[in-house]
Symmetry: C2
Subunit: 652 residues, 2 copies
């Protein structure tokens, strides 16, 4: 087949792009997208390239010129200013006027006959003038007339001056001939969300534990009373485990016992009973009016609500009677409960995403999201998304974003790396990570470098939880209070998005022997706590969150720079804003049992500090200030206190 | 839009692929394609994956199972056995039977009631049996009957044995249920050509210089007489500069003089006069009958002919009169000659690929290829392809390959790296390289690693020319004979495809002062040579080519392993076959003026040699044999002789 048309310019290797453009990159409002591409053409033409951007669905592109760097790589950038899907592409074209300027300048030698070349330039300029706006056209026509005059008079050098002069150049730059160009298709996409997607402190708590009275089931009203303290600690997002009616069948007792006692409250993750399912509210927590008041209070306090989205159904869930075909069946027709042999979860029926009524099931799953968005939820922490088909998530997130592009999805997939990445690629804005299990300097450096320094940073935002109701990591069990301080500093500074599960501030660390599970886990019982218990680290967490709010550097996710340190137990890393107006160095003792000292190598070149220059190191945690000088610095860290420095570097 | 169907398995990161599958990878007949991909699925299903391959246009896929490696990466490979375009893709599916085997094995505990699970397995097995061939079905039905009997008798453990036994496993493996699978689309492509694409020694010569009589214009008959000597040196491909009629207008004289004397023969690259153009034969070279005889002699000798494909037209070219619209015009209507200001090439008119008669011009350019293929040419060395639109080359190579997939295109693009790569991606089988200008150990190591160790090896084959009529590099000008030996060893062993331009074997190195141009360049005059001139390196080149033919390692292009050497003037590298049956170490003195010695680090692990093992180092150039032992070896190299070792490593 003879090609009807062909790309007149080669545009290759456009970055960023994920998997050849199959998936969007991600940004939050106000962030920049730096775009680079290899752009070149046969022959000697001068080229021009435009970065073209629009919101998906818009008609007109916003264009900005790209600039040529080394080795045929061109660069441009744009800022995303609204939530939703954006698309970007590149148009490049031969710049005939500039090619002519280049040619005529080279040929304009004493005695050379360049009359023909001047006529060619005149034609190009006239083409530009024909497209020009009225005033510009008049100015161009004056120069054209002068140029023709010089040509007629045989004053070639003078004609060249007029044709290539700065006045004509700036006018011609406004009216390029883009006919022999090429626009890359298809375009690439950006998924844009709110800044809280990339900078937030999360706090997880169980409303039913908020009564302050032992054995009394807490309510939403109790939770409302708890909110100011959470806000005072500096948290932006509260994450609620499921608040739906809890099933009775095979209800789990305390410590995951197979036999529940009559007053056992059950696991909130076994959803559904006669009071309703995923769009129901557990009656013991209160009424819809209480919920609305809870939402309103959160709004007043500037707290967002993240709700657990859990696709488990208790055998008592209304779906079981209404849509038995949504479940897996045994040969005898009975519904199968969840299993991970030899483990059995008789209190939970998994859904069959490949059911013959797939449209019915998938649409209902979408409906649950829309229902809670309508009820004031802005974020969903999605439970075990890796156990459902990835294309389902791509579809349902797309459907939600079509009407509510501001909604944030957090993937709770503690699973294999490739699946975790793919879930991020298809639309989850945030992801749980392996941070909880990364303890040594080597492990943390390698893992955080992968997350924030590789292509992953364009699509995967790790939400670093220091603990969860499912995970009480060994370091906290054995390291006690110094470990709790150390780990929360790491979580809150290695990532711009982090979280804790309530009880962390009390350094709760009683575990089931040999497991990462909490003893007397709140998953199966009500836990009433003394929030002022001795040894708590509320003040430290409060300070960390304030430091984060006041530091632009700590609000960036990308590019954690690890420093060279001569003690394997001390980790140090820098974060900074692109303009280096805020530079933070975090230094953390990873050993909760022993004091350590170390010498850090300070990357002065990276910071833009001269080697002979003194600078101030202000520890924002202790409020101590040091005068540093040169490329090394000495530090000493606790325990019991002073497990970390969060140092702001200030130039005089 | 609700998705009508969806991929049941995730298939990501398929390798090899070039730019998301936009361009084919390349292989030669008999080579393997190792394919890897990340393959995973939600939940706990066991997966199976098939690598599917076919020639483009074929209906049926050849399938082979992939095996699961670490981190969800699966691997498979296929061998390409015919010239042309192949395509490959992956189909993956949930292996229900194996998932069931896994589940039932875990659940088959003393006292467990697994009757329901056995019924599920029975259903899966019956589905397999229904698809089985007659004999297999009978065997399966026997086991099914036995299994049902055990089930009825309540002998669950026995029923499991029958269901998961090796007999049933091997039968079920033949009849998997691929219903819940996914085949990746679109497929990826491989461009397959003959082995000579990846392993060849090229020799460039001017037929008009072959008369052996000063001032007499050589002929094809003279060239026929020269062929046996070229073959005896071990060359497989002879590359002829243009053999078409040469224009008279603005003909260049000796040493590129602007004024030709009456007996000056002109540049063969200024094509076309009254005797014809690109499909014409310069009458002084002989007749079409001579050409046919030349082709026949090459065939007998096992030599392939590479013809220069040059899109220049002399002002006397027939196209100028017949298709003036194919050229660029000045405002006064005259045709523009080639320029690279301030340089002028009045003897050459460039073609306008964007002409309004684009179809006419492009089809004619295609016709030239087809004409010469019909005349026995199998390879085209394409002159300056980077000065024509890349989409033209993609089209024209595609059109040629549609009827002549065996034809090889060599890109003579000494230009910017991105353009050189793109020309290889769109179909040029071989490319000229920067080898000629890479002299130091660092430069050679970096460049060859990029070519043979990066993704480039899948699409870019560098043809390492040691000299060309346009390039007499400084190292040869100043280094003399030792440099000629050193550089031909490098060319012939760093790449499996290399070439020299005639005169190299005579160490001709007289240059225009301060330039890389030959003095009295053969481009503008006839050069008659004494092929037995003293100091020639015919024997050395002959030996190198014989070593290459006898060494499978030197016939591989990929993965040159550079060795650590303690002397910056000595470079050493290993090439080996995948099975390590042939291991070659080349050691070259890069300094043509001084003897050097060095200690090499021998990568014994790579070679599969134990640290306590003795091995033989057989220098195939000198035929000397050394007994080596351990991970270091000492070498001493010339000048004047012994500039290099080409060592075959032999285990006892």
């Amino acid at each position: 087949m003879f090609p009807q048309d062909y790309p007149r310019v080669n545009i290759e290797a456009v970055k960023p792009q994920i998997d050849g453009g199959r998936y969007p990159i991600k940004r939050v409002i106000g962030e920049k997208v730096h775009v680079s591409a290899d752009i070149f053409k046969e022959g000697h033409d001068k080229l021009a390239a435009l970065l073209k951007v629009r919101k998906v669905g818009d008609k007109d592109w916003l264009e900005s010129p790209m600039t040529q760097g080394d080795n045929d790589q061109w660069h441009g950038e744009f800022t995303v200013t609204a939530i939703g899907r954006w698309e970007y592409t590149i148009e490049a074209y031969a710049e005939h006027y500039l090619s002519w300027v280049d040619e005529i300048t080279k040929k304009n030698l004493p005695g050379a006959n360049i009359g023909s070349e001047l006529l060619e330039g005149l034609a190009i300029i006239k083409k530009g003038a024909a497209k020009a706006q009225k005033d510009d056209r008049a100015r161009m026509e004056n120069i054209i007339a002068a140029l023709e005059g010089a040509l007629t008079a045989g004053e070639h050098a003078g004609a060249v001056e007029l044709g290539v002069g700065s006045v004509m150049r700036s006018l011609m730059a406004k009216y390029p001939d883009r006919g022999e160009g090429y626009q890359l298709t298809p375009s690439l996409q950006v998924m844009v969300n709110r800044p809280i997607t990339r900078f937030a402190a999360w706090y997880e708590f169980f409303p039913r534990s908020q009564s302050n009275t032992p054995y009394r089931h807490g309510t939403l009203q109790d939770s409302i009373r708890r909110l100011p303290a959470i806000k005072a600690m500096g948290f932006d997002v509260i994450y609620l485990p499921p608040i739906h009616p809890i099933g009775y069948a095979f209800r789990k007792g305390k410590n995951n016992s197979l036999t529940a006692l009559p007053d056992d409250v059950g696991s909130p993750w076994a959803i559904g009973n006669e009071h309703g399912g995923h769009t129901g509210l557990e009656p013991k927590l209160g009424t819809w009016a209480d919920w609305d008041q809870f939402v309103a209070t959160c709004r007043e306090l500037g707290i967002e609500i993240a709700l657990d989205y859990v696709m488990n159904c208790s055998p008592d869930h209304p779906y079981v009677a209404k849509h038995p075909d949504w479940f897996f069946h045994r040969p005898d027709g009975s519904i199968k409960y969840a299993e991970n042999p030899p483990k059995k979860y008789q209190d939970v029926y998994p859904l069959n995403f490949g059911t013959t009524d797939r449209a019915g099931l998938w649409q209902e799953m979408l409906h649950i999201f829309l229902f809670w968005i309508d009820k004031g939820v802005t974020t969903f922490r999605v439970d075990n998304p890796h156990t459902k088909p990835v294309p389902f998530w791509e579809w349902v997130i797309g459907e939600v974003h079509r009407v509510h592009p501001e909604v944030i999805f957090l993937s709770e997939a503690f699973t294999k790396p490739k699946m975790m990445r793919l879930l991020a690629k298809i639309g989850f804005a945030q992801s749980y990570t392996y941070f909880t299990w990364r303890n040594s300097k080597h492990e943390l450096t390698e893992y955080v470098s992968e997350l924030t320094g590789s292509e992953m940073k364009d699509y995967f935002t790790g939400n670093f939880f220091a603990n969860t109701p499912d995970i009480l990591p060994p370091i906290l069990q054995i390291g006690g209070r110094p470990a709790f301080i150390m780990r929360v500093v790491l979580a809150a500074t290695l990532s711009s998005v982090y979280g804790i599960y309530s009880g962390y501030e009390l350094c709760e660390n009683a575990a089931l022997p040999g497991k990462e599970e909490y003893l007397d886990s709140e998953k199966y019982e009500i836990r009433v706590r003394d929030w002022q218990a001795p040894g708590n680290i509320v003040d430290i967490i409060t300070r960390i969150n304030r430091i984060r709010r006041e530091s632009a550097a700590l609000q960036t996710y990308n590019d954690v720079h690890f420093l060279s340190v001569d003690n394997p137990q001390i980790i140090a890393y820098a974060k900074m804003t692109a303009d280096r107006s805020d530079i933070i160095i975090c230094v953390v003792n990873l050993d909760p049992f022993h004091k350590h000292s170390a010498t850090l190598q300070i990357p002065l070149d990276l910071f833009g500090i001269d080697y002979h220059e003194q600078y101030q190191a202000h520890d924002l945690l202790s409020d101590e200030r040091y005068r540093w000088w040169g490329p090394t610095a000495y530090v000493e860290l606790g325990p019991p206190e002073k497990m970390a420095h969060i140092i702001k570097i200030r130039r005089w």
